[in-house]
Symmetry: C2
DNA sequence: CTCTGGCTATAACAGCCGTCATAGTCTAGC
DNA sequence: GCTAGACTATGACGGCTGTTATAGCCAGAG
């Protein structure tokens, strides 16, 4: 039975997420993902029969759920605390990777559909963004922010953080993240105290 | 003399910027860029002897200058007008490409340096972001915003728009751009009236 | 007219890509 | 102990990658 093999599968997904967040999807080969996870190439196609697209999709969802978990927990202390944790999480990734890593969800979102059909990985990226926004917006509403305002703010926060993470990598500096952090925190604090 | 050949060179750069904004840098081959610009492959290496990196660098700078020109012009009517134009510019690109195209600068920024050296294209992306921020920040200061606040707001605007453009592509909707537009416009309007 | 030099055309190179097929290994359940 | 099925090892496939080299074209200068 596939019992003790689950760690192997998860290792591949986690490793794929990391590599995609650094090099982008199309610059990351399945062979490299396998090697990075110390798994044989054959195993990748055993666990992910639909190939690279499936692996990318699972990597996106994996990251999405991981971030959402942290977000959910910290939002219990209110939107300001949640935002701070969200910012800190990405700051840690960017700085500790020496500006090599970013967000795999953004990396996958930046891929043109070959035809007119949207690849599942891109759809998964959209769902992850929506999930993060929903968590933030719900917390804002619970703290007195009007619904539409809460939704718009949540979108702004997620998009701004994603953009800032990319910007930090290009500039090889965490300054942009600290700057937007200050602005966003003031904005959120002002939106809930009413 | 290289006189009438300039259009060909520029066509390659502009085409490269467009393709990179859609598929990302590493998913865009030099052969495809040449074909897209109706130029022979040999010409690419004639005009850009340093290869793909040089072409990517010039594509980033080309886009940067093109946007900066529009930004400079519209900022003459004040930060609010400038922001509106900035948002409208990207909205047009995203919508008119049916959510296929985005920002080539962001696409290039999301590329891990192979070693510890930063590729010139990534450095160019950082410079372009800094340029856009500088234009916005200067306009804000001219309208009474305190210097540090102006710089932070400029960073937030550029990063938020970049992130939102990517988000719109994933969601295949312009809604996120309209949402952040509303929030950013309120923020900027509030920052200049003192 | 000749000739020069910017540009093009063509082919080749080594190497990696995603994917698939097949045969082999090992373990868990009977 | 044996068998089934999950996993691994290996190798191949056609195709595309960045890059380079070389020979050819063709307008414009002298």
């Amino acid at each position: 039975m596939a019992e003790r093999s689950a760690p192997s599968r998860e290792r591949i997904v986690a490793g794929a997420a990391d590599m995609i967040s650094r090099r982008g999807l199309s610059a990351t080969s399945i062979r490299e993902m396998a090697k990075h996870a110390k798994a044989p190439l054959g195993s990748t196609y055993h666990y992910f029969p639909e190939g690279k697209q499936q692996l990318a999709t699972e990597a996106v969802r994996y990251t999405g759920e991981w971030v959402a978990r942290s977000l959910r927990k910290e939002l219990e202390s209110g939107p300001v605390e949640g935002l701070r944790a969200f910012l800190a999480l990405w700051r840690k990734i960017v700085v500790e990777s020496d500006f090599h890593a970013g967000c795999p969800v953004l990396a996958v979102a930046i891929e043109e559909p070959p035809a007119d059909e949207i690849p599942p990985a891109v759809a998964a990226a959209a769902a992850v963004f929506a999930q993060w926004e929903a968590l933030l917006a719900a917390s804002l509403r619970e703290h007195g922010t009007e619904a539409e305002q809460a939704a718009q703010l949540a979108t702004l926060v997620v998009a701004a953080v994603e953009g800032t993470v990319a910007m930090c990598r290009a500039k090889r500096s965490a300054q942009p993240l600290d700057d937007t952090a200050e602005q966003l925190q003031a904005l959120i604090a002002g939106a809930i105290k009413h």
